[in-house]
Assembly symmetry: C2
Homo-oligomer: 159 residues x 2
């Protein structure tokens, strides 16, 4: 098991995007239960099956297994809940850390989120100036929640 320690932010502007190369992500869920989420993901041309435990603060247990791309596609097409998440992920280095910025599509079009993975919860983070409000604890921004209750259905959009 790995521990996923992650902080999540809204974006202030799109200046991060200069020169950034995106990878297409598609993901769906076999379990949306926040105590035991099971996610199928296609990242570019690679497939993954990932189990995550409950989030405590910004920490979550994570078990990730590579699976054949074709099986990931079948699991998404035939077994996963709908709607599914489609997004483009950009990796942007800043001050010694790599930020992952997700531009959502489909039912979550218009939402952009920046995440940074840490080694420990209290690790100091130099925030880039394109980062806005922190939404780490806000369940609405969990990808599993965005699959069930997409951004386009929110009464007040802030993404």
């Amino acid at each position: 098991m790995a521990l996923e320690i992650e902080r999540k932010f809204l974006l202030r502007n799109d200046s991060w995007k200069v020169g950034a190369q995106g990878v297409a992500y598609r993901q769906g869920y076999l379990s949306l239960d926040p105590q035991r989420t099971v996610r199928v993901r296609i990242a570019g041309d690679r497939g993954f099956l990932t189990v995550k435990g409950a989030t405590r603060g910004c920490v979550r247990s994570e078990y990730e297994y590579p699976i054949p791309l074709e099986q990931a596609r079948q699991l998404l097409d035939e077994l996963c809940h709908r709607p599914q998440i489609e997004k483009t992920r950009y990796r942007v280095p800043h001050a010694g850390l790599v930020w992952e910025i997700d531009e959502f599509h489909g039912a979550n079009e218009g939402l952009v989120l920046a995440e940074v993975e840490l080694d420990r919860p209290d690790q100091p983070v130099v925030l880039p100036d394109w980062v806005g409000e922190e939404v780490t604890g806000d369940e609405r921004y969990y990808n599993a929640c965005l699959s069930r209750t997409p951004f386009s259905s929110w009464p007040q959009r802030r993404g």
Copy 2:
């Protein structure tokens, strides 16, 4: 993906057990949804993560991935639903097919089930004389259901 084509039976007696060697199984579920079951299993000293789709007749889609034993143990201990399934599995060859016979323990103590895996649904099967009533379509005998509603809680036990 594999297709799991399987018929399931109660046992008439325990004459199958002569000389049979059992392997300890422990399994639990991350998703009990019959449309998308996600199972963690320890079989002897091997760990597996398995996704199964809805059962149609005796046919079900199945995706099985070996995972490290220690991770299977952590997933069972920390993330899977309870109660979990404990059983001893015996493999008994008969008339060109291998029967898998599960003796359940814990909350399902007293239940014994025989399964035979087939290449196609209409494949002829020579039934051993220790096999009793067929329960292939009976959801109560699904392992995911036995985890939620164990045999010891049934009003009328027939296992």
